[in-house]
Symmetry: none
Subunit: 209 residues, 4 copies
């Protein structure tokens, strides 16, 4: 059912309920973009969705579940978008450059939502105060890049460097594009993609000794 449709909806929910959930998620993103995570209260989200506060509690176990869903679905959709492009590449260098390029494309095409997602990532904390999307999630993303780099080093395509540090730098630079879009929503993402692919192509290249 779900698995072949690409849908991120939940099993066993009526269309009406599913539509409501989507409406609420959209309103939540709009609210966070506008007011920031800290002031994005359920009341504000409900107001923007044109519904009553209680509805949100009805459809989601709580504010936390709503936030979690927003982030996870954003990343799942991102993976769906990027994977085909990466699988078409044959070299590690090709995969890396395409990864950077398409990741920035995805950010550019979701420049509205990305602002909210970043805000949630940095602020959503569990009851004990620890970041809900802490280092595990972050490490996972870095590790995916590091793996590409390691493979390239083994194949002799890349030079000598710490793949984890390089991977972290790449991720940080990609995420920086989100921040740049926040500052200037009309920024040219293709320009960032060109510059960053060139930057990290040089940075990962074998020394021309």
């Amino acid at each position: 059912m779900r698995s072949d449709s690409g849908s991120v909806g939940q099993e066993g929910l009526s269309f009406i309920a599913e539509a409501r959930r989507e409406q609420i998620k959209k309103a939540a993103i709009d609210t966070i973009v506008e007011l920031g995570y800290a002031k994005a209260s359920l009341a504000q989200i409900a107001k923007r969705a044109g519904i009553s506060k209680g509805v949100i509690s009805y459809h989601f176990a709580g504010k936390d579940e709503l936030m979690e869903k927003l982030v996870v679905e954003f990343y799942v959709a991102g993976a769906h978008f990027m994977l085909p492009h990466l699988e078409a590449e044959t070299t590690a260098r090709g995969v890396l450059l395409r990864y950077i390029e398409k990741n920035i494309s995805y950010i550019g095409e979701n420049r509205h939502a990305i602002v909210a997602i970043s805000d949630i990532l940095l602020n959503f904390r569990d009851a004990d105060g620890s970041l809900h999307f802490g280092h595990d999630g972050r490490n996972e993303l870095v590790e995916a890049v590091a793996q590409i780099l390691r493979e390239g080093q083994e194949k002799g395509e890349f030079g000598d460097f710490d793949p984890v540090v390089m991977g972290s730098s790449i991720r940080a630079s990609i995420d920086m594009v989100s921040a740049a879009l926040h500052a200037d929503p009309d920024a040219d993402t293709a320009h960032y993609a060109r510059e960053l692919t060139a930057l990290f192509d040089r940075a990962t290249r074998k020394d021309p000794s």
Copy 2:
């Protein structure tokens, strides 16, 4: 000590008051590190300082002033730390690599505070909802790096790239070290410094064509 040093303490305050202010600022940083900015209430800060809530209001005009002080004093101290090293360099490349290295040193030596400072930067908002330390502050830092890069390009030390994108990538990579320290407080910052200077040395180098 205070009066003749580069200390950021305020003139005209008694030693007792100054000590209390320092104690409160330290407690504020500890609290933010532990609970995050959003949950770092005056009550929590006071609890960690072992004082009553009202004391904070007595020594600071309000929570906002306290937060502002934390950030500004951190950056002022950072500039004090870095400037002498940069002025000792004669080439743009030297300045850039030293900038990266010493910035990471400063982060490493303040690995505790940096977590709180980052959190404040990303979350402290004015009454109108806009980030108090918004893009102006961020751009200022990027622009300082971009200026180094531009000079190097003019002198023929660096290759061809957009200095603003490169500068943003450098800043993002340096800030990434803070995040890495948050995940692993015992991380080897010198290793990060070596890897990142090498990375951006390659990335900014003239094409060997």
Copy 3:
């Protein structure tokens, strides 16, 4: 009842909400009568209403709105009560004496609320420190009386005096009845009405020269 009457209730609110608002307004008046404006906190009002503090914030935008509503609705209702009686009079003297009499009647019938209303008038201040119901409101009431007096002077019904000073004295004397009721809730308002109409009938009469 509500919908077709001159009621001051708001349209578009459910009966439950309207009932709660009335209950809160009543509790607010009771609280102010008992403790005075300065100590009439939302907590005290809620306590007397037997509800939680938050309910007041739910039904009113804030304490200020609640206070404003109390005063405005009291005056609107007062005007509704008095106007028909004044319109039935044909002479300025008749209007004046009826104004005094019926105003005191209204006070007598609302002897409880009037205490709170007076307290609000004298103490409710805006954020800038100025009285919310300042001299403009007061002058309006005085001016209404002064206008009656001026007309009577023009028609030759009254003697020679400054209508603003006389009007102020009349208003002050009427308001004094409120204070008297505060001291002795069982005071005979009809007696005050008789004495004050006679007093100002003599005071405004043409000299019998």
Copy 4:
């Protein structure tokens, strides 16, 4: 020393202490005039006096004592001012008209302080919520006027009216002049004195039947 000087200061206090007390009282009046009773905190009063908050607590048992002193001393001084003029009159009518005239004079000469005094009278409450200067004080003033009126009625100088109601009206009208001064600090008090003496002369006169 003190007892024959007419001073209202306290026995056994050094000149320094007495001067401090006067300074604090003056600052208190200024503060209440400017901010209103409710916002006239000890901190504000101390600020205007150029001293520390604790000094007030040192010289006065508490805020309440300070407020009490301000009011009582104002009335004592008022009696000092008025008595000689009243004792010079030989008829009840003369005493009444002089009372009104000189009372308004006193208000006019203390138009600054009177604003604060009125504010205290209306807002200073005891711990149980009751007005500290409640009906007893008010009644005392009214009763003084009523006594003049009764004597005049017994001597046949005045007509037939309830002396308490008439006395209340007179007091209310005099106090109204304070309010008028609050609205317009440059108001012509002599004009008010002329109009109100004439008004109550007519109102108390024997019917010319």
